[in-house]
């Protein structure tokens, strides 16, 4: 089978799995899975295809979630506009922080994004509209386009599913566009891309803004799902979690982040009562993945299939 066939089969499997998931799992849990899966896909766009490791993606997720919650609760905007407000805010934040962060690469890029995210965290801690330690609570859900009542769990689930699919397909489109190819070229060999006349800084900034906007979309949707936005969403631990999801699932693979998000979020659910064990388990998965499992779950499966079709 060709690479493309595999991708189609995998997409069909994922589509069906999420479409029937509410029959098996709580819709609320399913919606969180979808939000984090989208968040991880957005992050993966940057590391997997642009070669940029951001350690501060929580700032986009969190700001998207705060602004969407604020827009819905205080401004009384309808849900779809509130979510777009969140995503747009993160895009703007991505443009500002991106301009600063892309001035360095590699390890420095990771440290800079982490530091900028911490700055945003302190901003959210102090700013009056975020509610500080309490966060923004009881965020209402309106009717979608004034028609569908999203307070029904199943309706909300499929609405979130649609958002996830839109984001996922957009990322797929970006990766396979000429723009995505240039990004890959920059990841492989930046000086060569420069020598071919590409303004690599602009491409990297564009990728950063896109990734930020999609992470914001995920955060905004999550705020609508759980009816609140809180400091957890902007904290550095959240940045670490999205790195972990992507690493475990497979960096640079199309489906890896989705698989990683499902595994990590499910693990958190089951270990939730054990408190600090979640952190310990996450740390150990990090260590294990880096030492022995660098391709991630989907990366290993792809390698296995490739080997089989070669022989």
């Amino acid at each position: 089978m060709s690479e493309l066939r595999y991708e189609r089969v995998a997409f069909a499997v994922m589509f069906v799995a999420f479409a029937v998931a509410p029959l098996v799992i709580y819709p609320n849990f399913g919606m969180q899975l979808l939000c984090f899966a989208l968040f991880a896909c957005a992050f993966n766009l940057l590391i997997g295809f642009g070669g940029l490791l951001s350690f501060g993606h929580a700032m986009f997720f969190g700001m998207g979630s705060y602004l969407a919650a604020h827009a819905a609760l205080v401004w009384g905007l309808p849900i779809e506009i509130a979510i777009l407000t969140g995503a747009a805010t993160s895009a703007v934040l991505g443009a500002v922080t991106g301009l600063i962060a892309i001035r360095r690469q590699g390890i420095y890029f990771a440290m800079i994004t982490l530091a900028l995210a911490q700055m945003v965290y302190f901003f959210c801690l102090r700013a009056p509209f975020t509610g500080g330690e309490n966060g923004i609570n009881s965020v209402p859900r309106t009717h979608l386009l004034g028609l569908v009542d999203l307070n029904q769990p199943l309706a909300m689930y499929y609405f979130v599913f649609a958002i996830f699919l839109a984001g996922f397909l957009l990322i797929h489109r970006i990766i396979h566009s000429p723009f995505g190819q240039v990004l890959k070229a920059i990841r492989e060999n930046e000086p060569r891309a420069v020598s071919l006349g590409y303004r690599t800084e602009r491409y990297k900034l564009a990728a950063f803004v896109l990734s930020a906007a999609l992470a914001g979309l995920a955060g905004a949707t999550k705020a609508m799902v759980v009816h609140n936005a809180s400091l957890t969403d902007v904290y550095w631990a959240m940045s670490g979690e999205v790195v972990l999801m992507t690493l475990l699932g497979g960096m640079g693979t199309v489906f890896g982040p989705v698989v990683g998000a499902v595994v990590i979020i499910s693990m958190q659910l089951y270990l939730a009562e054990l408190g600090s064990w979640v952190t310990i388990a996450q740390g150990m998965i990090f260590v294990f993945c880096v030492l022995a499992f660098r391709r991630g779950i989907v990366g290993e499966i792809e390698a296995f299939l490739r080997k089989r079709s070669a022989s």
């Binding site: 350690f55 001035r103 590699g106 440290m111 530091a115 700055m119 302190f122 901003f123 740390g283 260590v287």
Partner: protein
């Protein structure tokens, strides 16, 4: 506001600056030779404080013993980490070192949170360093004066070892070209291991210094290390003296901000980082 308050904030700034300097120094030394950013640095600093706490409460060994023993204990942990894990990553992208040490930081922090909760545990100031000096314009607690003095001495000693001794010259040479240094018969892998151990030991020493000031808690390192990353980006990791100067300097600026505009004190270092990156991306003391 009074000059009393100004000097008070400056003192806090100098104390924070001591920790920034000690920690960014360790990061720079490790980065120079291993090309790894040690994300576990904050956790190892926390480990240092805990070892001091255990020494006092389980073994009855006081502060001065802790100062001597702790860096070796935690440094040994570092040596084990380097041998078992980091040494497998040198041929890979440097980002994997960052991810691995981040994972280790989570494991350390999670384990101690599990055992001790998140409340801080007090560690009392040793008797010989209690009391306060009246400097005329302000009161200086003896212990704080000692921390600033001791950090300065350790920073300068580290600078001296690296820039002015034979051992340091090997280290600098191996930073430039490890293969060539190895060809001269110097055991570079062992040097790398010991360098990591030494960097970790420095972090642990900072942890012992911090124990009486900030209390001993599992979370004491995680937010500090992010500020130290910003300090490292501002200074650039090219020079040892640069790390020291940037660390102390930023501590003082932070203290001044607390006096002039307290709302910005937690973000001022990040803002400075953004400005420096726009004007001089390689950092104040960094080379291209």
């Amino acid at each position: 506001m009074s000059t009393q308050a100004l000097f008070g904030q400056l003192l806090i700034g100098l104390i924070n600056g001591s920790f920034y300097a000690l920690l960014s120094l360790g990061l720079a030394v490790i980065f120079g030779l291993l090309n790894i950013i040690n994300f576990a640095h904050g956790a190892q600093y926390m480990l240092g404080a805990f070892v001091a706490y255990f020494l006092l409460n389980k073994a009855g060994l006081g502060y001065w013993w802790a100062l001597v023993i702790t860096p070796f204990v935690v440094g040994a942990v570092g040596v084990v980490i380097e041998r078992l894990m980091l040494s497998r990553l040198y041929k890979l992208d440097h980002l994997y070192g960052l991810l691995l040490t981040f994972g280790l930081a989570l494991v350390f922090e999670g384990t101690f949170s599990h055992q001790f909760g998140s409340a801080g545990m007090p560690y009392s100031i040793p008797e010989s360093l209690q009391g306060v000096q009246n400097l005329g314009f302000m009161y200086l607690p003896n212990y704080r004066g000692w921390v600033i003095f001791a950090s300065l001495v350790i920073c300068l000693a580290t600078w001296f070892v690296i820039e002015r001794t034979k051992l340091g010259s090997y280290l600098r040479a191996a930073t430039e070209n490890p293969t060539l240094v190895q060809a001269f018969g110097i055991n570079v892998p062992r040097m790398i291991t010991l360098t990591y151990g030494a960097g970790v030991g420095l972090a642990a020493l900072a942890g012992v210094f911090a124990a009486p000031i900030y209390q001993v808690s599992p979370q004491m390192g995680s937010s500090l290390i992010i500020v130290v990353f910003a300090v490292v980006v501002i200074g650039g990791m090219g020079s040892i003296m640069g790390s020291i100067l940037t660390g102390f300097g930023l501590g003082i600026i932070e203290g001044l901000t607390k006096y002039i505009y307290p709302e910005a004190s937690s973000t001022v270092i990040f803002v400075i980082m953004a400005i420096v990156l726009m004007i001089r991306p390689q950092g104040l003391f960094g080379q291209r």
